[in-house]
């Protein structure tokens, strides 16, 4: 009798065979790192799973002793900026507790928070994927695509440096397909929600046999175990050791370049030997140096997919535009330009350096045409407004730098107001110029920098575009 009892206990300490795991719960947690109390499942179930060892539990914040004071690290977002750690009297653990303000938007992580990582069996991913895409590659695209596929197969990091409108997304298709067909899990990350929203339907269409999810702030909950994930870089905080291939699109965009924790996140979500691929039109010197030093694969495409050169920005002075607009008047050059666009029925984008300036200018522009709208980062109707412009329901859109990349609108014409402002760096200006002339039928278009004095950033952007055109066309 006693022997039997002992045997029974022994079984319990191992994983419990009698517990049937719900696939829903397993699929949700695989690859994720999640706050225990925020799980979208009943806490009793989580409790049971923990008891039977299906989860590894780690502390939310770890600290080590530094020279003068403790040094904290957030175990979810890997933030180590000490000024973002807040200490307070916690009523749950009844002591001085620390929380990380860096990733607080995803639910607060404190010293007494349990983070859960799936510890149970992981199912194999299917290999029967197809690519339903009948487009064709240019020579340069085909070459870059092959190089990327090879790099990924050999677990090599890779950089794709391609001008705006070179067809970067399509280049990814064969490489992603090859990885999926080997049963690998792939993550495509980008710093911008807009880019996720643009990429997701395109990938959904060309990979009809693949379960893919899109993750961004306030994304709806999606079912199943996704093999392909398209996410904002912020959402990567919620994953760990999850992917066999990680691709970062628009790797030079804000906030990725400024936020150390985001860059670390990219490395923590991939499995240790998994390859990383960066895709960008304007790689920073740091990225280029890293590529050289660590001998990454490198593909360079100086030509657009339709074979026409990049539109070169023109500089137009717009002296004291700030004061004019503040007085309630749009400078006449800008009125002329806008009226011309409306008369010729060409959709247009006008970029502003600040939300405040745009706020004052919007009603003034609406006097020219009442359907002109404006968008900025906190605008909830951003998606709808861009769609309206694309469908030619409205003549034009005023915007902050939020629309500088990732959007494609047929025959769009672009003006930048206050191009000398600090926020318009050379890479931002190159990206903005890259919105123009992306369609085969409308390969040319106007890009004007209205300025109050020319900056080196503006010159740099123009020179880089001229250089790329020279490389691409040998003129």
């Amino acid at each position: 009798m006693q022997y039997k009892l002992h045997n029974h206990n022994h079984n319990h300490n191992q994983t419990y065979k009698g517990l049937i795991i719900e696939p829903k719960i397993r699929d949700f947690f695989i690859g994720r790192i999640w706050i225990r109390t925020n799980a979208p499942f009943p806490q009793e179930k989580i409790e049971t799973y923990i008891k039977y060892n299906y989860f590894k539990r780690i502390l939310g914040i770890s600290s080590k002793r530094g020279f003068f004071k403790k040094h904290y690290t957030c175990n979810r977002c890997y933030n180590e900026n000490q000024s973002e750690f807040i200490h307070y009297e916690c009523a749950r653990c009844n002591q001085l507790c620390t929380y990380c303000r860096h990733c607080i938007n995803m639910g607060r992580v404190t010293s007494c928070t349990d983070l859960l990582i799936w510890n149970g069996a992981k199912p194999k991913f299917p290999t029967y994927h197809i690519l339903d895409w009948d487009g064709t590659f240019t020579e340069a695209q085909a070459q870059a695509s092959q190089q990327l596929t090879d790099s990924i197969q050999q677990n090599h990091n890779h950089l794709i440096h391609a001008v705006c409108g070179a067809g970067k997304t399509e280049i990814l298709f064969p490489a992603v397909l090859a990885a999926l067909q080997q049963g690998k899990r792939v993550c495509l990350a980008t710093p911008r929600t807009d880019v996720v929203l643009e990429l997701f339907p395109r990938f959904q269409k060309v990979f009809p046999n693949t379960i893919l999810h899109a993750y961004y702030g306030n994304a709806p909950q999606q079912q199943g175990l996704p093999q392909l994930i398209i996410a904002t870089t912020h959402q990567l905080y919620r994953f760990e050791n999850a992917f066999d291939v990680v691709i970062v699109d628009e790797a030079d965009a804000f906030p990725y370049t400024f936020d150390k924790a985001l860059q670390k996140a990219v490395f923590k979500v991939k499995k240790q030997s998994a390859p990383l691929a960066l895709v960008t039109a304007t790689p920073s010197p740091q990225i280029l140096a890293k590529v050289k030093r660590e001998k990454w694969g490198y593909s360079f495409i100086p030509k657009r997919y339709h074979g026409h050169p990049l539109p070169v920005p023109t500089f137009e002075s717009l002296w004291s535009y700030n004061k004019m607009i503040a007085k309630g008047k749009i400078p006449s050059k800008l009125i002329q330009w806008t009226k011309m666009r409306i008369a010729q029925k060409e959709p247009f984008l006008i970029f502003f350096p600040t939300i405040q300036l745009m706020g004052i200018a919007t009603p003034l522009f609406q006097q020219l045409h009442e359907d002109i709208l404006s968008v900025h980062a906190e605008d909830v109707d951003r998606k709808e407004k861009v769609t309206k412009l694309r469908n030619e329901e409205i003549p034009g859109l005023l915007t902050t730098t939020i629309l500088e990349r990732g959007i494609t609108i047929k025959n769009v014409q672009v003006a930048v107001v206050g191009a000398e402002s600090k926020i318009f760096t050379s890479s931002a200006l190159i990206q903005i110029s890259g919105r123009v002339g992306r369609n085969v039928n409308y390969p040319a278009g106007e890009i004007v920098f209205y300025h109050h004095g020319i900056t080196t950033e503006m010159d740099e952007a123009r020179n880089e575009i001229l250089r790329l055109n020279k490389e691409g066309f040998g003129k």
Partner: protein, 203 residues
Amino acid sequence: MKRNEVPNCLLCNAPLNEQMTWKYLLTNAFPRTICSECEQKFEPYHTTQNQEVTSLYKYNDAMRDFLHRYKFMHDTLLAKVFRDKIHEHLAKSKAIITPIPMHPIKLKERTFAHVDQLLKEANIPYQHFLEKTTTETQVGKSRQQRLATEQFFKLKASPENIKNKDFLLIDDIYTTGITINHAKNVLLEAGAKSVKAFTLIRG
């Protein structure tokens, strides 16, 4: 009070660039915690005289955001945002300051008492005389349902401490007044001389 304790705006993260002034050197005023742009988004609420409940701000979009981040996202640090205004209003109060209590289970969930925290950051001493008897909240109820809720406070301290004394109840938001009224009734029944209330927000 540490100077440069908060280098960036707690709400929008813009650098504060606090200028050194004589006022900072010579008085112990609270250093700024939010930028002037964020500050402008909050609408002050003007209490008319004879009103028993004083409030500082109206409930608008900025305030809804603030409350969400503070109370529901648990960003405890945000208790500092209104500390100077709260201090200004309560430092000279002669009444005994009593925050509206939380139910212990709720407290464990939130990990901090949001009303107490506001007072702590503003350096206002307070005492608890009440306790909450249900974990139910007023959130998500209609006005009718709220007004119909039964007494959910009971006395924690002995009545001698309450007899013939003046009290000032503190809460984060005043909407229908049911919370304040229930608390007030408990104190008055125990023999309090007067009970007034102060809330950060008027819904």
